[in-house]
């Protein structure tokens, strides 16, 4: 389930990478003449983009979707495989295997896949491909590191060969000549022709500006390098930012083809086997709103038992609330992760309109947008309900205060104090504590509370409290 959490930023990373590094990749060999018609640069970007919207996909299907020739697609994919961006899997399979994959695909992807000709396919080798997000992250980082290091090394003249110059006769030597330049005492390098002491060239450059043409070339080269490094940092800034953004996110991992198929088809079956091709059941893929298609969301609002059922049905672990420092821009969070799930579960205890959950269920088949709207509507309705509930509860409290006000001032102070303390705590505790405030008007007040609180357990609790207090 955690896949869909971070897939969006990772997809953005892939798209940025594609545009930064694979923009001008041509699948044609260099020996072939490049005419404007056969220029297919940019195809690589399109293919990568298409892959971000899919999980494991059969290459034939991908080629059909992209209106590309299969051979061309394969060539590009092979290139990406070498670049460690995609995983590929080849296997011999019968029509049955293809159907199994189709089922898995339709369970995860947003659109129907053509199933024509399934039965005609005999034992064929089919290739599948999928983005390897974990590796992409590493590969891109390594690539950037190498680029930067190479430029920096050149700039720092880290691996360049030191040159020496004779101040007397301007004869130049390189460090490679060091062995025969070394003086008798091993202290200095001496010029072969005039026996003058050599100086390292960089020192000379610092000391005085030599108007040498060679010198100028070097300086210009240095400036060019510096400029290049600057440009690189500037142009790759979005990519670097995206890398930093996904740094702490869980990497989406679809697993191997077999594992993915098993998982996807199992999920499809669990989500309701009667309609496995339901396009709205976008489960964990790179669909825009993957969570809203999940059946788990709409049951959150309805009864507790329902929620439990659906959880075991989809086989997904309960989501954890992410701490605020972990939430980053570009992350897709569910309500539960923001910690709002608790608020949702509270209305469960109060009486919820029974039609709401049914309503929600019917919306699942609609598209994501309407589901989202429905969801928010239901959510706000629940909040409103809750607010009304507390209002109702609040009113009797005021009245009880008035009632207790007739008693001695000492009693009232005690009651108020205890009430204030409890108010900061949980609702149920507060309601249980309120009876302690009163003595004469107690039974009346409890009755009011019961009317507002239709749940039987609460009533019993309050009754018990009553008895206790009457005894004391």
């Amino acid at each position: 389930m955690s896949n869909s959490l971070s897939i969006e930023p990772f997809n953005r990373l892939v798209k940025l990478t594609a545009r930064a590094f694979y923009d001008d990749i041509s699948t044609k060999g260099d020996n072939q003449p490049k005419t404007s018609r056969s220029d297919n640069r940019g195809t690589a970007v399109v293919i990568l983009d298409a892959l971000t919207r899919r999980q494991w996909v059969r290459e034939e299907d991908l080629a059909k979707d992209l209106k590309l020739h299969l051979k061309q697609l394969r060539r590009t994919l092979r290139f990406f495989e070498e670049e460690k961006l995609v995983m590929r899997d080849h296997r011999k399979e019968t029509a049955k295997g293809v159907r199994m994959h189709n089922a898995a695909v339709s369970a995860t992807a947003n659109h129907h896949y053509g199933r024509e000709g399934d039965d005609k396919i005999k034992l064929h080798t089919h290739s599948y491909c999928c983005l390897d997000y974990a590796q992409i992250y590493d590969v891109v980082r390594y690539r950037m590191h190498r680029m930067k290091k190479k430029l920096k090394d050149e700039l720092d003249s880290k691996n360049t060969i030191q040159e020496y110059i004779c101040p007397n006769c301007n004869k130049r030597y390189t460090a490679l000549d060091a062995a025969r330049l070394i003086s008798e005492d091993g202290e200095n390098f001496l010029c072969e022709s005039c026996q003058g002491e050599l100086v390292a060239e960089s020192d000379k450059l610092a000391g005085q500006d030599v108007g040498d043409a060679d010198e100028n070339v070097r300086r210009r080269r240095r400036e060019k390098l510096k400029e290049m490094l600057q440009k690189m940092e500037e142009q790759l800034k979005p990519l670097v930012e995206q890398l930093n953004r996904v740094k702490d996110l869980a990497v989406p991992d679809f697993g191997s083809l077999q594992a993915w198929e098993v998982k996807a088809s199992a999920a499809a079956r669990a989500a309701g086997g009667d309609n496995p091709d339901d396009p709205s059941r976008s489960y964990q893929g790179g669909t825009p709103m993957p969570f809203l298609g999940d059946p788990k969301i709409h049951v959150d609002i309805s009864g507790v038992e329902d929620k439990e059922d659906s959880k075991s049905g989809t086989g997904s672990a309960p989501m954890k609330v992410l701490p605020p420092w972990m939430i980053r821009q570009g992350m897709k969070l569910t309500k539960e992760q923001r910690g709002e799930g608790e608020e949702e579960s509270k209305p469960d205890v109060t009486s919820e309109p029974a039609g709401l959950s049914d309503d929600k269920k019917s919306t699942v088949v609609k598209d994501d947008k309407s589901i989202q709207d429905e969801y928010f509507k239901a959510y706000y309705a629940a909040i409103l309900e809750r607010q009304r509930e507390t209002d109702v509860k609040g009113e009797p409290d005021v009245s009880t205060e008035e009632v207790t006000g007739q008693n001695t001032s000492l009693d009232r102070q005690v009651g108020l104090k205890s009430k204030r303390e409890e108010q900061s705590e949980d609702e149920d505790v507060w309601e249980e504590a309120t009876p302690s405030a009163g003595n004469t008007g107690e039974s009346y007040k409890v009755d009011l509370n019961v009317q507002a609180e239709p749940l039987p357990e609460e009533e019993e609790d309050n009754d018990e409290e009553d008895v206790e207090w009457e005894d004391g």
Binding site: K158, I161, Q162, A175, A178, A179, E187, N188, A200
Partner: protein, 177 residues
């Protein structure tokens, strides 16, 4: 890098060795001639492992010397650019230091020594970090990277760097004592 290769050489043998131990003499002369030499093409010949084939000898007119074409297996050492070597420092001066990695001599100039190491011209000239924790002097063992080679017909000379990750002193004679 070390290689195990087969080389060929024409050996000239004096007529006085023509006897029952001709072959032994040929091999020992080959070892004496070849081991420790350097060719720009193959690198330093470290050791001869065995004789592959001895061809038919050709008697030279006038001298009586006989030339045998001999094929022999040997281990050669050829340094490459980018290779990491471990070397023993032989000389330190203000221009840098010289080190030997087996037969090959390597020069590390002072701008390829990390910037935090300073030249100290004491009685044993050395390069030392400011906190005295690392010291390069004569007989220190260093790990270095070759960044340039100069290959002559009979000589190979390298320049190296210790200005990179995991390079530098690996054992210090001063620290042990």
């Amino acid at each position: 890098m070390f290689f195990h290769i087969i080389l060929e050489r024409n050996m000239q043998l004096h007529p006085r060795h023509f006897g029952p131990r001709l072959r032994d003499k040929l091999v020992s002369k080959l070892m004496k001639d070849v081991e420790g030499t350097c060719s720009g093409r193959h690198g330093f010949v470290v050791a001869i492992m065995g004789i592959e084939h001895v061809g038919k000898g050709l008697i030279r007119d006038g001298t009586g010397f006989v030339t045998f074409p001999v094929k022999y297996k040997c281990v050669v050492f050829r340094p490459f650019k980018g290779e990491i070597l471990e070397a023993v420092v032989t000389m330190v001066n203000k221009m840098g230091f010289f080190a030997e990695a087996g037969p090959v001599q390597v020069f590390v100039s002072n701008h390829l020594i990390p910037d935090d190491m300073e030249f100290q011209s004491a009685d044993t000239p050395n390069y030392t970090t400011s906190d005295n924790s690392v010291k390069i002097q004569k007989d220190s063992e260093v790990r270095l990277k070759i960044i340039g080679t100069r290959v002559d017909a009979t000589e190979i000379f390298c320049i190296g760097t210790i200005k990179d990750d995991f390079l530098g002193v690996i054992s210090d004679p001063g620290a042990a004592s």
